[in-house]
């Protein structure tokens, strides 16, 4: 099942939500708010939400986007699930390293690797 919204694509893979971004820049405040609202809604709708957010194609990321990821990470954890991130290109990875958020998030090289052992396929 694939659901298209204006900013993200969410695919349900046997109970694991794979999230991809439509835009290459995750900077715009209104877009980030919209993404945040939708991800929170989805995380709250699942019993123990398992989510893989893929950054394939993403070129820029602001601190507001990092804030959303932190919120989703806390929420999935609180509800007995987990958030995994994948496909982060080196320039974006540097943003995670500078902010030390690479210590907070479960980061995988590819979405496929993130899905392994996560119950989804």
């Amino acid at each position: 099942m694939s659901t298209e919204t204006s900013r993200i694509r969410v695919t349900d893979l046997s109970g694991v939500m794979r999230v991809e971004f439509v835009d290459k820049d995750i900077l715009d405040e209104a877009a980030i708010r919209q993404i945040s609202t939708e991800l929170i809604k989805r995380a709250e709708a699942a019993a123990s939400p398992r989510m893989v957010i893929s950054f394939r194609g993403v070129e820029h990321l602001s601190s507001a986007a990092l804030g959303t990821l932190i919120t989703i990470n806390s929420l999935t954890k609180k509800r007995g699930g987990q958030l995994r991130l994948s496909d982060i290109k080196p320039s974006i990875m540097e943003v995670f390293t500078i902010t030390k958020l690479n210590k907070l998030f479960q980061i995988f090289e590819t979405a496929e690797k993130a899905l392994e052992g996560f119950g989804g396929k």
């Binding site: 209104a30 820029h60 602001s62 601190s63 507001a64 030390k100």
Partner: protein, 153 residues
Amino acid sequence: MAENDIGGVGQMTSAPQPVAEGSVRLHEINKEIESIQELIEGLLSQFGYPDAAMFAIRLSLEEAMMNGFRHGNLQDLSKFVEVRWRIDSQSANFHVIDEGEGFDPDAVPDPTLDENLEIPSGRGLMLIRAYMSDARYHDPGNHLEMNFHKVAK
């Protein structure tokens, strides 16, 4: 300085050292930020800045403008954020000024401490400091000046 003095963009004096200077007052968050980003990126490209520099400057400007709107002007859209730039082949200088009361940048908690990692905000300024060659607030803290030196960062 005229409001939206965007006519100054791309003014390149012929010799000996070409420089692009300009300024703009932004009132609306999203659309205007995007257009200023494109404009700056075009100038940086003209002056031969590499991709990594353009990434650093785009991110820093984004964070600076968002901080100005959100924390400086407290989302009051009747207030503006002014951006000034001066770019030549060696370095790029930016001023981002909001209409707020200013703040003490040293009072912002360190978001990289373990106990602060899960706080979803407060990372804009540290990214600016990490990516730009230098960045400082002029008193009373509503005026950020930052530089990127193309050669020695």
